[in-house]
């Protein structure tokens, strides 16, 4: 099953677990996650199931003014 993670196409198993997608992408703590522009808190990420074509955003710290 294909999903987008930070605009990169990632192939995940049919189980479609978010945590698998994050691992395959190489998400580095600390990070926050959105799926289809909805914030998924850490407490809800385990067991969260993705669908074909879902857009995952993995965000981390960056410089800011």
């Amino acid at each position: 099953m294909k999903v987008l993670v930070n605009m990169q196409q990632i192939e995940v198993s049919e189980a479609g677990l978010l945590t698998q997608a994050l691992h395959l992408f190489g998400a580095t703590p600390p990070f926050a996650v959105m799926v289809n522009e909805e914030f998924i808190p850490k407490s809800q990420q385990e067991g969260f199931v993705l669908k074909e074509g879902d857009k995952v955003e993995v965000l981390g710290a960056i410089q800011g003014g």
Binding site: N6, A27, T28, A32, M34, F39, V58, A61, G64, G65
Partner: protein, 266 residues
């Protein structure tokens, strides 16, 4: 004893808040932040790129450097154009950085990055009710400031001039009005500061603190400019607390003229 800056109950000695963006290198950023004496640093969120060093969005171990400084973190919602975007970004920031503080930026127009006043108020209400300590970046509009204060903001951050312009205080009258109208609120002038004299001007009128980034990061010698701002902000605050003389229209001799060599009684 010198008064301290109060941000939602956190008392700080430094009245300078500094940004972490636009520096020529991570080392210059680190040196400049240290030179500024700031106790609060702003930062933001962006997509991670696992190919970058440390895997973080900021690259070159930005996060490691920021953590090592041990300062209070003030995440911003830069780049957000809607209430939903800003609220979502605030929630993600809270989870990553472990702070309820949020510099709420809600862009109304990309030309001058002016905050959208209406959506800013809406987003502030949502975030305050969710337990955030909101530091709203707003214009110098007195009525918008009043709405933010009435919602429960203990801090307001009106602009001096648009972000990154270095134009200083475009409307000192408006800033002075906000200061006088809301004496109990912590007022931080944020954006548009270019010179230490701009910062000092704001502090002399009773503004509580200055938040700046570009003025330091884009200086030819950022760490030295950071020191200059540190001095000017401290001097401006001292001047405010000292109570400046009253400006006069006519001259008043400072040297006594009575019995001076060529003085004649009229």
């Amino acid at each position: 004893m010198r008064s301290k800056l109060d941000i939602y109950g956190t008392k700080l000695d430094s009245r300078m808040l500094i940004g972490s963006a636009l520096y020529p290198s991570p080392k210059v950023m680190q040196d400049s932040i240290v030179a500024s004496g700031a106790q609060v640093v702003t930062l933001s969120l962006s997509r991670q790129n696992p190919t970058k060093v440390g895997g973080q969005s900021g690259g070159e171990n930005f996060w490691e450097i920021i953590k090592s400084l041990g300062l209070h973190l003030l995440p911003n919602t830069a780049g957000c154009h809607s209430v939903k975007e800003a609220v979502t970004m605030a929630k993600m920031s809270r989870e990553i950085f472990g702070t309820d503080w949020i510099k709420l930026e809600l862009v109304g127009d990309d030309f001058n990055l002016q905050p959208d006043p209406i959506d800013l108020v809406k987003a502030t209400e949502i975030l305050l009710s969710d337990g955030f300590k909101v530091l709203p970046y707003c214009t110098d509009d007195l009525v918008i400031a009043r709405h933010l204060v009435e919602l429960g903001c203990k801090v307001i951050m009106p602009w001096g001039s648009p972000i990154g312009t270095g134009k200083g205080l475009l409307n000192p009258y408006a800033l002075r009005a906000i200061r006088e109208r809301f004496p109990e609120v912590t007022m931080i002038v944020d954006s548009g500061i270019g010179l230490p004299s701009h910062a000092m001007q704001a502090m002399e009128m009773g503004v509580d603190a200055i938040l700046l980034n570009t003025a330091v990061a884009h200086a030819q010698h950022p760490d030295i400019m950071a020191q200059a701002f540190k001095g000017s902000i401290e001097a401006g605050r001292l001047a405010y607390e000292a109570g400046a003389m009253v400006e006069r229209e006519s001259a008043s001799a400072s040297t006594p003229t009575l019995d001076s060599p060529f003085w004649h009684q009229a």
